[in-house]
Chain length 243, copies 2
């Protein structure tokens, strides 16, 4: 009986929470555009009638939520929501629970094939152009035989671009999360030339299916690709664990 359905939803809101919400609303209503620079902390604090400490707590929460970027000596800026570099509040979870990598990979397998299918239905010419550029860049790295951080970045970019082609912004964000977290894991070991070539081939097949508007094939190919990636990553993680 600790909860009464009617009474007591009393939201005693911390000041910093209110500030957080208010700044979000301002961004939502277009009073603050992505890329805009916020007033300096001291000034903004005075405008809002709060102390700098409270304001700073709110700003840090917003940064963690990926809404703003804070640069010392530079200022605080509203972040591009659709941008590639997205944050990860969940990223912290991987520090908390390293055993979640397997679960994360499975969630990816549940999710991204559906995204690819929708991308095949909805991709515009611009989406396809972006994917083509990405694939071309991948091709250059493959030809040069250079796996590494550059390859990882392009790989991630490809998957996010597929999500973007699905024209579902939440999907873009979720894909950004997942790939960012997994990229962090994969950074520890370098993929072989062979792995890179195989992944590149899969990426080409996926793009082809999207380009030809074949959702089923896009979904199936993405599924196969991700299962291969899963097997590889889990092997490496296990090997690292033994090492």
């Amino acid at each position: 009986m600790s909860e009464h359905p009617l009474l007591a939803p009393i939201e005693r809101s911390r000041l910093s929470k209110q500030i957080t919400v208010q700044l979000c609303r301002m961004i939502g209503q277009g009073q603050l555009q992505p890329g805009d620079r916020l007033p300096p902390e001291r000034e903004l604090a005075e405008l809002l009638g709060v102390s700098r400490s409270s304001l700073r707590e709110a700003l840090h929460v917003l940064e963690m939520a990926g809404i703003v970027t804070i640069r010392q000596g530079g200022g605080t800026f509203v972040r591009e929501l659709a941008g590639d570099g997205l944050l990860s509040p969940l990223l912290l979870m991987l520090d908390v629970r390293g055993d979640l990598v397997g679960d994360l990979l499975e969630v990816r397998i549940m999710f991204e094939p559906e995204t690819a299918a929708r991308a095949a239905q909805r991709a515009t010419a611009e989406d396809l152009a972006e994917l083509e550029r990405n694939i071309a860049a991948q091709g250059r790295l493959v030809a040069a035989g250079q796996p590494g951080d550059g390859w990882l970045a392009l790989d991630r970019q490809f998957h996010v671009a597929i999500a973007r082609a699905s024209h579902n912004e939440v999907a873009v964000r979720v894909t950004g999360f997942i790939t960012e977290m997994l990229q962090d894991v994969q950074r520890h070991f370098v993929a072989s030339d062979e792995r890179m070539q195989h992944a590149f081939a899969r990426h080409q097949q996926i793009l082809l299916a999207v380009n030809e508007s074949e959702p089923q094939r896009a979904r199936a190919t993405m599924l196969e690709h991700l299962r291969e990636v899963e097997r590889f990553v889990l092997c490496e993680v296990a090997a690292e664990g033994r090492g």
Copy 2:
């Protein structure tokens, strides 16, 4: 040529960021268990050799990330990771972009049927017992004809329980996110008796499929259910927009 492969990846870390990571690690290594109470801010600040301000910024970020709960006058506690009430850094996004509800519903449709399928493969006796209890509670509300916040909570709890039966903790978290955000949206309008009865019937069908270990049927039924929910919610949102 802005990137040199060797030099200059220098990561200059804010103190509050370091604190955030360190606390996460402590939780990950079991030095802090879920449910544990952290030392008081003043004490913890001294232990870490930082000021209370920096520590507070870190704690607030951790709260936003769902790692801890802060209660004025009570203390700061490590949160149950698998717990029901998880927060959402993404929740702020709905303030920023109200038009994302449709995208969110679609992501749910991509994701939860897969979760249900895996639940049908992996659910244990305890999982089923929890689902049974939840369905029974739903039945009581349906019999009493009481849609409202209580129903919404049980509805959400059902979907999260399905995710839990899939034995994928990341999936539990993602489902928690999505349902929490949507619950926030749905709170604005009350479901009809009829809607509740229909959803209840679907829930029963899903549980049946899970209970009989039939992944395909679980997936299909969940998909159908979520499409119905999507249609309903989008209608209501549109109506609200016009009102």
